[in-house]
Symmetry: C2
Subunit: 342 residues, 2 copies
Amino acid sequence: MTIAQEIYPVNNTRILLKQRPFGMIKPEDFEIVEETMPALAAGKARVRVVYLSLDPAMRGWVSADENSYVPPVPLGSTMRGLAVGVIEESNAEGLKRGDWVSGFLGWTKLIDVEPKDVNVVPQVVPMEAYMGILGLAGATAYYGLMEVGEPKAGQTLCVTGAAGSVGSLVGQLAKANGLRVIGIAGSEEKCKWLTEELGFDAALNYKTDDLEAGLRAFAPEGLDLHFENVGGAPLQAALHNMKAHGKLIICGLISNYNATEMPSGPELSAIIKKRLTMQGFVMTDHLDRFGEFFQKLGGYMSKGQLKYRLDIVDGLESAPTAINRLFVGSNTGKLTIRVSEL
Amino acid sequence: MTIAQEIYPVNNTRILLKQRPFGMIKPEDFEIVEETMPALAAGKARVRVVYLSLDPAMRGWVSADENSYVPPVPLGSTMRGLAVGVIEESNAEGLKRGDWVSGFLGWTKLIDVEPKDVNVVPQVVPMEAYMGILGLAGATAYYGLMEVGEPKAGQTLCVTGAAGSVGSLVGQLAKANGLRVIGIAGSEEKCKWLTEELGFDAALNYKTDDLEAGLRAFAPEGLDLHFENVGGAPLQAALHNMKAHGKLIICGLISNYNATEMPSGPELSAIIKKRLTMQGFVMTDHLDRFGEFFQKLGGYMSKGQLKYRLDIVDGLESAPTAINRLFVGSNTGKLTIRVSEL
């Protein structure tokens, strides 16, 4: 072990949650600490983090809400985050130097893990794929659309946050399953990407387009399915344009996450008039099925049916400021921190 | 037929919808017309209406919303309404003088119907039962709770509008099926009626009680089921107090029905965090199953498990003003117009 310490990096940087944010996340809500790693313990492996995923759900994880689906990140501990990295050194069975592993490694450059903490992932795709299609976004899009939504060919789907990491995959999965798809996004550039690159049938810019009229024109008979990532006006417009017995899949309500007072929601009388079902889900309930989802997603990938783009920001220290790009919608692709070079 | 005209009443009073209400329904939105009934045509029977049901759904029927589950009542035609009455004269096969019939007879003293327009109902219960337990309220409570909610013994249920015609039956049906039940109503008198007469485990007065704290105290583990008749603050409190994977049955949102601008709804992030399902339904989809529901309800009735009270207002001409008692919550029981003496 003394030898290992001399060979492998021992200086680490971690980012701790210092205080619970009020409204938007601020850099001073975090503390960056430098430390020396201890000798690697028996049964553990040291991971060097390469890519760290920044996700809207993080806004919930730093809140004090004890009723949420995962416990809040305790003050003073490493900020939680899904990441992928390389094993640098191992005293653990089943993990060897050079393996790629994914898991909730956190906002850190190095971390010592037990085999149960990580999944070894195949090195047959670029490592970035584990931040997107074969990561939380892919699993979320697959489970939410295919299992909660139960789509059928010929149906019509609307997805909000359509240029986001989950939304862009939801739309493409729906197209691959024979649905008509309209996406709602926040810029002309994003809308063009959806229709010209990803094969969406139509896209609306929620900042400039009349959403009610746009949805009505696209789906005069109403929407069979609506996949919600954002909340606010687009959700209200979708509710007004659902087909009878339609389903709303509630994946995210990012427009609410930084609210400092409880925001209101949409007027719900369409749920009665249209006999709608609205259903929420949480991916951490289904961690044991991610392998199954990734196998299905790999099938679509290999047929060229899923395109994806990352928005990569360099340096772990950028994370506390970069995360707000999710909430103002300025990221163009899956927001990812490159913590180290592969 | 000439003889019949001499024997049976021929002077009728009907109430027409004159204009679409803005906000609360006003008497001047209707027109009362006196008319002479024509001779009874072949294949028809003349019904004398005895009880007319006034229901929150009527606020929707007089609106111009073409997207609703039933077409709006056309201006200048008899106001729609579920009623029960007696056949006075018949030229129709299957209907005979003295039969009791129920159906959408409308706001009228007399109406000539074809057999397909009405159901002959057994004269084994007081006729008022067809306004309540064996009427729209009973069918709605039974279908909404038992088929949409799929309750299981030992679960916990909250119902709003709990002293109303549907809510009071939902709570009693849930008790009869082994659930713990809390009701939310709008006065101390109503709350006492729920707990002391109907067997609810607890009741909250939304005008004076802290609903969030009250629900938390009643169900520290959360609510399995929530049956919504009202909307507004009680729905938000229920959302915050649901158990993971719980279900919200959306039957009515009466607090919205008279709004002149689109009201907002509850903040929905609990749908994600608690993986909730919210489902709406419309009873006119299930008219063909009312007989089946009434048979089940009759079973509970015969065991003394369903109590019910009517709030009877005399005279068809009272309907245009009496209906607003539903929206201010001043009715104490199923609001019913006695159009004539049985």
